[in-house]
Symmetry: C2
Subunit: 122 residues, 2 copies
Amino acid sequence: MTTASGHTSAILASRVKGTAVYNSAGDKIGHVEDVVLDKQSDHIMFAALGFGGVLGMGEKYYPVPWSVLDYSPDKGGYVVPMSKQTLEKAPAYSMDDLTKNDGSFGDIREKSYTYYNVKRDW
Amino acid sequence: MTTASGHTSAILASRVKGTAVYNSAGDKIGHVEDVVLDKQSDHIMFAALGFGGVLGMGEKYYPVPWSVLDYSPDKGGYVVPMSKQTLEKAPAYSMDDLTKNDGSFGDIREKSYTYYNVKRDW
C-alpha cells in the first residue's frame, strides 16, 4: 500500500485505543485495547483487540494487522470483515507475550499476518 | 528499514504517549504528546512532540519521524539527536493541523521528513 501526497488517513494513536470493533455481521465484538508499534520498521505492527466479555477469552488479546481494520463512520468503530467464528479461532496472546520482544515476536507477527491473509512487504 | 523475523522493537502506543524527550545535549525538552498513525500505508507517520513549557511554543506540536527517536533506557525517555536550536526551528503545527486530513497533510509530512533528513520509501 502506498500513500498519495495528499492522503487522508492520519489518526492519533490515543484516539484508536478503546474504539469499538465490529465483525462482518455488524455485531460489536470488542474494542481496540492498544496499538502495537514496530520501532525497527516504522510500521504499525497490529491492533491488539480485546474481545474479553464477548468471546470470554479473559486476558487474551488478538493481534490483527492494522490494514484489516476498516473504520465505519456509521458505527463509530472499526469493522473486521470476518465472522465471529473466524475471529474466535484467531491467534490470541497475553499482552505481555505481544510485547515481550524476546525474539518470539516474529512468530506472533507471522501467525497473525498469515491467519488474516495480509501480505507484508516489511 | 526492514525487520528481522525475531526483532525486538515492539512497543504499545499507549506506553509511548507521555514519554519524556531529550535533545542531543541530554536536556529534557518535552514529551511525546501522541503518535500519528497512517491508516493508508500502515506506517507510523511520526511522533507529535510537545515542547510547550520548555520552548514556549504553547499549543504547537512538532511532527518528528518515528525513526528519529532513540529510546534511552538510562534516561527512561526518547533522545532526538539534535540541538535545542535545531529543534526550535523545526516545523510545528497545531494538533488539529497534524490530523485534519484535508490533503495538506502530505505537505506536513514532507516538511517533517525533509527537515529531519529522513528517507521515506512510502
